[in-house]
Every structure is written in structure tokens, then in C-alpha cells.
Amino acid sequence: MIALDHVTKRYDGRAVVDDLSFDIPAGAFCVLLGTSGCGKSTTLRLINRLIEADAGTIRVGGEDVTQLPPEALRRRIGYAIQSTGLFPHWTVADNIATVPRLLKWPAARVGARVDELLELLRLDPAAYRGKYPHQLSGGEQQRAGVARALAADPELLLMDEPFAAVDPITRDALQGELAHIHRSTKKTVVFVTHDIDEALRLATMIAVMNDGRIAQLATPLDLLERPANAFVSDFVGRHGLGLKLLSVRKVADRLRPVGQCAGDSAEGEPLAPETSLRDALSAMTQRHTDRLPVADAEGRALGVITLSDLVR
């Protein structure tokens, strides 16, 4: 979906993005992870040409981005940022409708799409359509910002620390919804953050960046188990590594399927197979039990997971 080939961007002679090459396959959730100033936001903006590269080529869907007019390119790519950048003089509905209107969708289709997105982001259309950004909480503004980025159904979504400024509870909910949207729409997402736990929770691939280069490009699990160098292992942090490992593995990987062991059964509210092992541990601790049932979204029993399965 996205291919960066020897991309460099310099400011005052200093390379902020330094000869960067990597591919992001379609459908991936790629997190650019690093400290501030490592070049992760610059890399993101190079993709939709808010910043022009000094050298190298960037392809989106096989097309060299410099061969397209920047506006046409950007209308095909969703873009969400930390401070949302919602237009303060437009209603939530008008904000979400920005790109569909630029693409000259008929009004009825725009209206239907706005309502669909408000529902997807859990904002009641009747209540929120006509509100102005300043009437929303920080979390609601972020939801509207994400809805706006998704409005024209782009194949590619660029997100620059979208949840960094909201409170932890709201952030947790928004991450959950973004993960759900990614799973259900199969969009390619490039997501910038400095938060390792956010990266581990959302990513299918993580690019740890340092000084404009990629320190390691790996799946969340590989990053934790096989850090490529001292920088990555320091960044990932040895503290709480076991819990981080639990957070990137799913219940589905460890569950004992129904019927495999006749004696295994468990009581209580079942877990979903895509629950992380960390959340499963939390649920067991909370409910004072060492085993929990697992069921799919339709409520069909899939099996059982036990405390010893978590640390196997």
C-alpha cells in the first residue's frame, strides 16, 4: 500500500528523516513509534505531502505521490491529528462532510454518510449533527475528528498522536473503537505515537524510529521478545515486560477448545477470543478464579482459558 524508498528530509542541513526505506502492506496497522523529534510525524506528513521530501520516492497504492496534485492525493487519504483541527465555525456534520463535499458527492449521500460515521464513532446523530466543536468534550472532538478522516472511505488513514491529549479512560475507549474499525474495514492505518502501550495494543507492525531512521520494524510480539538493539530494548523497557507480552497475545492463541479436555469447564461471563491475555489476567484476578470461559460474538462457547495457560 505504501512504499518508502530512500526518503530523506532535511531541515537546516540536519536530516530529520534519513534515507528511510520500508513498505507497509495493505490492511496493516503500522505504528511509527519513537520519542519527540525522531522523525515519526515528519514521515507521516511526507506521505500526504504536507511536507515535501528532499530525496527518495514515496508510493501510495503503487503511484508516486509527487505525480498527483497534492489536493487530489489528500482527498484519498484520511488524516487525523492530536488537536483535531475541527473547523470551529462548522457543525460536527459539516466538519465530517468536508472531504465528501470536496469530492462533490450528492447531498443525500453526504448526509447518510455523516450519520453512518457518527453512529460508528458512537455519537448519536440526532444529538451531535448540529453541535459545534466547542460544545463537545475532548473525547467527542476526537471521535468527530476520526469520523471526518474516515468520511470519504479512504483506503489509507494517517493519524498523528490522535489520542495523546485525552484522558486515560477516554483514550482506552477510543483505542478500542479504532481497533474495531480497523478490524472491520481492513483499512491501512499509519499511526504515530510515543506511547509504547498504545502501539502494542493497536499495531500489526511497529516501526521504532530514532534520529530519522528505523531502529526496528517488527510485529509487537517480536519487538518485545527480540529487540534488535539496545535502543529498542531501552525504549520498550524491561520494566513490566511480562505484562507487555501478555498485552500483545490474544486469548484465542491460548484457549483450550471445547471438547479437547472433557473436565474443563468454567463459570461466569465469557471472554471474547480477541481479548488480550493481560485483560484475561485482570478478569481472573477481579473475579477470584483461575479459569474463564471463552465465547464468540454470537455467544457460542469456544473453550476455556486458565491461569496456567497465560504463562505457558
Binding site: 489536493e71 487530489a72 482527498r75 483541527g85 475541527l86 470551529p88 465555525h89 468536508t98 470536496l102 466543536p133
Partner: protein, 247 residues
């Protein structure tokens, strides 16, 4: 309820007072006779007040419209990447225009373009540019960086971004600049009468020359009411703009 609210509006009463004085100044003849015994005539009669007002209005409207167009255009230009380098120069020019007394502009303009309305229009135009430019720049620069970045990121062209995002968000400040500029211009336009422009200042200067105080009072009161009324109308426009555009 709605009726009483309209009656309580100062705009209505100032407007009525202004219209009454403009059209029926003769009705005050007994008052002026009593206050200034021996002066004849007591009501200015070399031109009608409505005629003076319309000429005054035309001067101010021409100069202010030009100042608003040029001022906002310059502000837009120096807040674009291409015009950023001209920022200091435009600030300086507008500052000079403001510091230069309009009387001096008139003195210089008359030998160049002759007597009449035009030297006054030039003087008012130059004098009115600074508040418009300064406010428009402040308004355009006050658009949050995140909003501009989002507009670009959504794929708005630079022109679409200016027209649909930046100018509407800067509109209250731009309007405030125009309001100051126009209100000053209404007062300043009176001196145009010294170089042959017809304004509500004409009775004032004629009265001063002929030592007829009633003329001075008549002209001054009308100019003052004109300025107050215009300012009130701008206030209405400002409230309407803010209501139609919350946030």
C-alpha cells in the same frame, strides 16, 4: 414583547433623531433665534443637509470600500508563504499612512489632483488603511495552526482554505478594523470641505469663517450623530456575524 424590544433599541432613536435633524433642521429655527439673537440666517442654507450628507456618505463609502479591499488583500498577501517577506514593508507603509496627518495629505494632494472630492478620498483611504490591515493580519494569524493543517490535510486548495476557513474565522476581527476605520473617516472627512469637497463639515467651516456659531453646531451635531449611528450599525453587524458563526 417584540415591539417593546424594538422601541428600547438606541439604534432606532439615534436613527430617528438623525433623520429628523437632517430633513427638518428649520424646525429648530426658533431655538437658534433664542440662543443666538441677531444671527441671520440661523440655519445653514447654502446647501441642503440631505445633499451634504449624501456627498459626505459617498466620500466615506468610496474611501472606506477601497481601504477595506486593499487592506484585506494586503493582509491576505502577507500571510501567504509567497508574501511573507513583504510583511514588514506593508506594516511600515500602513504605519506611515496613519501617522501622516490627513490635513498634510490634503495639502500635498491638492496641487497634484486639484480641488474637490478626490484629494479627500485619497487622504481618507491612506488614513483608514492601518486599522484594517492590522486587524485583518491579526485575524488571519489567529486561525489555529491545527485548523490550517487539518484544512490542508483534508485536501482543500489554498484558495478554498482561505475562502471557507481562514476568512470566516478572521471575519469578526476584520470587521472590527473596518468599523474603526469608517468611524474615523466620517469625522475626518469634514476637513475635506477646506479643499472644496462637499461634506457635513462645510457648514462647520463656513460658520467658522463667517463667525456664525449656529452653522458650526448644526454641522457638528450631524457629523457626530452620523458617526455614532454608523458605529451602532457595525455593532449590529458584528453581533449578527458572531451569532451566525459560534465557536
Amino acid at each position: 414583547m417584540r415591539g417593546t424590544k424594538a422601541l428600547a433599541s438606541p439604534l432606532l432613536w439615534v436613527g430617528l433623531l438623525f433623520a429628523a435633524l437632517l430633513l427638518r433642521m428649520e424646525a429648530l429655527r426658533p431655538f437658534f433665534h433664542w440662543a443666538f439673537p441677531g444671527v441671520e440666517p440661523v440655519v445653514y442654507d447654502r446647501a441642503s443637509f440631505p445633499e451634504l450628507f449624501l456627498a459626505h456618505l459617498r466620500l466615506v463609502a468610496t474611501a472606506s470600500l477601497a481601504a477595506a479591499l486593499v487592506g484585506v488583500s494586503l493582509a491576505v498577501f502577507v500571510t501567504r508563504p509567497a508574501g511573507r517577506d513583504f510583511r514588514t514593508m506593508v506594516d511600515l507603509l500602513a504605519g506611515v499612512g496613519q501617522t501622516f496627518p490627513p490635513v498634510a495629505v490634503l495639502a500635498i494632494a491638492v496641487p497634484l489632483i486639484g480641488f474637490g472630492a478626490w484629494p479627500t478620498v485619497v487622504a481618507l483611504f491612506l488614513y483608514g488603511l492601518l486599522p484594517i490591515i492590522e486587524n485583518a493580519i491579526a485575524g488571519l494569524e489567529g486561525v489555529p495552526q491545527a485548523v490550517r493543517e487539518a484544512a490542508d490535510g483534508m485536501g482543500l486548495t489554498p484558495w478554498q482554505r482561505l475562502r471557507t476557513v481562514e476568512l470566516p474565522l478572521a471575519a469578526p476581527l476584520i470587521l472590527a478594523g473596518i468599523r474603526v476605520s469608517v468611524t474615523i473617516a466620517i469625522g475626518t472627512a469634514t476637513i475635506g470641505s477646506t479643499v472644496g469637497a462637499l461634506t457635513l463639515g462645510t457648514p462647520i467651516f463656513d460658520g467658522l469663517v463667517a463667525n456664525k456659531l449656529p452653522f458650526v453646531i448644526e454641522g457638528a451635531v450631524l457629523v457626530a450623530l452620523f458617526a455614532i449611528l454608523t458605529d451602532m450599525l457595525f455593532g449590529r453587524l458584528d453581533r449578527w456575524l458572531r451569532r451566525s458563526m459560534p465557536g
